[in-house]
């Protein structure tokens, strides 16, 4: 019986149990749920335990976009239930396997329905229209669902129009294992009541009643009270009976190690630049002068969890691959929004996105990667964006705004019409500081001014064109910002790559030694030897193909590593950088 019950939809809450910014504590057949409505209206039904220390998420904080655990502050995204931030590891993006188990949720007949593994749709209930219903107060009962159904078969109530009349005539319209429909008639008045019995556990249930017609005015409360009274009396009887019988053992829910959806996520580590996700361009619009906005929705299933600062690879119809930052705010998990600037000297990437890709097209994209993670423990965060460099910083600013943390977004552009995503900038209010039409000298002066106020535990994130980024880094260093507080992301690597050296690379963990001849990259040499490595931009800008150096002297040619990371000699970007020594030992 229970196996079948697992496949069946059950109501687990009333729609009115899910006001905004609340977390409802639900349970179905022994399994507890944290149920919460995000500000975008989406109803999340999750396993009621934080993946960290197992604390109930039903006591967590619903901030409208994410659910925060009360214990150590782990944050989980609306819809995907993926972890977006771990306060104890502020500099890192959480592993994407940290994703809570989710269950389906459907709102129908004023109730929220869920199931462990549903088959089919939420059933149509004869006699109940979608609108104009009256949902009764739910009555929890300490008795098994079967016993409650038995009791309901003899349940009596009055038609809504005749509460004070003599007993109405009751007919059983339909009776099933977990629901029963009763009609009460008296003197031309009649009311159909459908009672669903939610099996909370082996010995606990909730009666959720719905009447076929709403009642307006003062009569409404009277009808609700009438049913509350009658059902409470039924509850007391059922509980007395159940107390006299031996209590069945509680149902032990099965806690899966990894959810099927998560197991189906493409592997991150072994496929180089393969793009395993298919998305539809659901919207394309001018996000600013010369910048096209794209809204990408999954062809099927859910998109993976993203973190602010993450980017995706977009595989274009012309075969080019480009990286674009996700501009979404937290909890906006039903789509990815990217902005693409038309480059004057486009080699086919932005031109193709602007001219060829249209709404309705299907694109292949990679899952989000985050090599530009956002700390959320700064006393204040400064963002410096130049032009299209706004995109990752916009996602970050929205995340900090949602948590009410201190930040400023300095946005450098030529004209106001070039400020991208005005609909996302506007809600940032005074935290947005546009700097328009400045010459390089004026830009330098503005940077010196805005970076003059460094205090301990402030952090700076920069993204923009190369020269501006260099200037901002130089000014920050001048003004006393430590390198560890300055985070940056280049669009591209404009260094001239010198690939004339040849050397040996020993892969310590793979027990392989490779020759890297002139004209070939370490990444290519590894791939030819069958050793796969994730990569994305393949020009030393994005940070995906980072490897740890155990021995030897790297010849850095990327723009991803900071100066101290370069000088430490312990990291290398395998797509462009090489070796100054004859031999390099990598931790691969």
């Amino acid at each position: 019986m229970l196996e079948e019950a697992r496949n069946r939809w059950h109501p687990i809450a009333s729609t009115s149990d899910l006001p905004h910014r609340h977390v409802f504590h639900g349970q179905l057949m022994g399994r507890e749920f944290a149920v919460w409505r995000a500000d975008d209206g989406f109803v999340n039904v999750w396993e009621n335990r934080c993946l960290h220390r197992g604390v109930r998420l039903s006591i967590g904080i619903n901030d409208g976009r994410e659910l925060k655990c009360q214990y150590h502050g782990w944050r989980y995204a609306n819809r995907t239930a993926g972890c977006t931030y771990i306060p104890a590891h502020p500099a890192d993006a959480p592993a994407r396997t940290i994703t809570n188990r989710t269950f389906p949720a459907v709102e129908r007949y004023g109730l929220v329905w869920s199931a462990e593994e549903p088959i089919g749709e939420v059933p149509d209930i004869a006699g109940l229209a979608e609108c104009d219903l009256l949902v009764l107060r739910a009555i929890p009962v300490n008795a098994p669902a079967g016993r409650v159904i038995e009791r309901l078969k003899a349940h009596r109530f009055q038609p809504s129009g005749k509460l004070d009349a003599a007993d109405g005539e009751i007919s059983v319209e339909a009776a099933q294992e977990f629901s029963i429909a009763l009609r009460s008639r008296y003197g031309g008045s009649e009311t159909l009541a459908v009672f669903f019995v939610q099996p909370v556990d082996s010995n606990r249930s909730v009666i959720r009643g719905v009447l076929d017609h709403g009642v307006q005015g003062a009569g409404r409360i009277a009808v609700l009270r009438h049913h509350n009274e009658r059902l409470s009396a039924l509850r007391d009887l059922a509980e007395r009976e159940a107390a006299a019988a031996p209590a069945p053992a509680p149902i032990e829910p099965v806690y899966e190690r990894v959810s099927p959806e998560l197991a189906e996520l493409p592997e991150l580590t072994t496929h180089g630049r393969k793009a395993a996700l298919r998305v539809t361009v659901s919207k394309k619009w001018p996000a600013a002068d010369g910048i096209a906005g794209f809204e990408l929705r999954p062809v099927k299933g859910l998109l993976p969890t993203f973190h602010p600062g993450a980017h995706i690879d977009v595989h274009m119809p012309n075969g080019e691959i480009r990286q674009y930052s996700i501009t979404n705010g937290p909890g906006e998990t039903d789509r990815f929004v990217i902005g693409v600037k038309l480059e004057r000297d486009s080699k086919g990437g932005s031109k193709c996105m602007h001219e060829t890709v249209r709404e309705g097209d299907v694109l292949a994209i990679s899952e989000p990667r985050n090599n530009f993670p956002l700390r959320r423990d700064a006393v204040k965060t400064l963002f410096v964006a130049g032009g299209i460099g706004i995109t990752p910083l916009l996602a970050m600013a929205q995340a900090l705004k949602n948590q009410n943390l201190a930040y400023e977004l300095h946005y450098f552009a030529q004209t106001e019409a070039q400020l991208a995503f005005p609909d996302r900038l506007e809600p940032l209010g005074n935290a947005l500081k546009p700097h328009l039409g400045l010459s390089p000298e004026q830009t330098g002066a503005a940077l010196r001014e805005l970076l003059s106020s460094y205090k301990r535990d402030m952090h700076l994130y920069i993204c923009g064109p190369g020269p501006m980024l260099e200037a901002a880094r130089a000014v920050a260093a001048e003004q006393g910002w430590p390198e560890t507080a300055v985070h940056f992301e280049y669009f591209k690597n404009t260094n001239m790559i010198d690939d004339s050296s040849s050397f040996q690379v020993a892969l310590a963990r793979s027990c392989v030694t490779l020759k890297v001849p002139a004209g070939k990259t370490i990444l290519e040499a590894m791939r030819e030897a069958g050793i796969d490595m994730p990569s994305s931009c393949e020009q030393g800008a994005c940070g995906t193909c980072l490897a740890t150096v155990i021995e030897g002297e790297p010849d850095h040619q990327d723009v991803y590593l900071s100066r101290s990371e370069r000088e430490s000699g312990t990291k290398i970007m395998t797509c462009v950088s090489r070796a100054k020594s004859a031999r390099l030992v990598l931790d691969i």
């Binding site: 905004h20 910014r21 509350n228």
Partner: protein
């Protein structure tokens, strides 16, 4: 200066700290080692309160015991808005007194269960839990119908009163006595609302709420 004879883990002492925080008034505390020191039964404390119970409050030479009584005093004296205990509204005062007595019932059941589980008091734990569930059912029903009628608080006012402050602590701490609130969704929503009152403070075992959605 108000002096509160205080024990950090006592829900009844928290009640008063919470009230004084809502009212924005300053006070000092004298810690009383309730457990394991049993200082509330010591000679010096029994002079303050022969019942040997916390909390006790001293203000302007006035010595008061009993959390509910002290709520009445604080709200009457220190609330210029006259909302927490509206002295000129007899019907509301009657309602408030009714729920202050109910809060005593919660102390006698939910708080007792917590003393049993947390501080090893010997008492009939099953009776305490059954009693608390009986009261919670009544409160949940009351609050659910309140929501249906557009009322957010325990009493019939469009603002919280000391009745909400009196009932809140041992409701929110009930799980420490093995009394889950899963079956009381209207109580759980009311707890969120109490936590969003300006000036709300927590104690050990009470978590804050996030901000409400902007209207």
């Amino acid at each position: 200066m108000i002096t509160l004879y205080d024990y950090e883990l006592s829900g009844n002492c928290y009640k008063l700290r919470l009230m004084m925080s809502f009212l924005g008034i300053g006070y000092k505390t004298v810690p009383v080692d309730f457990y394991p020191g049993r200082e509330h039964k010591s000679e010096w404390f029994l002079k303050l309160n022969p019942l040997g119970q916390l909390p006790v409050l001293e203000d302007d030479g006035l010595l008061l015991r009993d959390a509910q009584a002290i709520l009445v005093y604080l709200a009457s004296k220190y609330d210029p808005s006259n909302r927490w205990y509206p002295r000129d509204n007899p019907a509301l005062l009657g309602e408030i007194s009714q729920w202050l007595a109910f809060a005593d019932g919660i102390t006698g059941t939910a708080s007792a269960a917590r003393l049993h589980d947390g501080l090893f008091y010997e008492l009939d734990i099953d009776a305490a839990r059954v009693g608390a569930h009986r009261l919670f059912r009544i409160l949940d029903e009351h609050l659910w119908f309140g929501e249906q009628e557009g009322r957010d608080w325990i009493c019939s006012a469009n603002h919280p009163t000391i009745a909400d402050v009196a009932c809140f602590p041992y409701v929110i701490l009930s799980e420490e006595g093995g009394i889950p609130r899963q079956d009381y969704p209207a109580i759980r929503r009311w707890c969120d609302r109490v936590k969003r009152i300006k000036g709300f403070i927590v104690m050990s075992g009470v978590f804050p709420a996030g901000p409400a959605k902007a209207a």
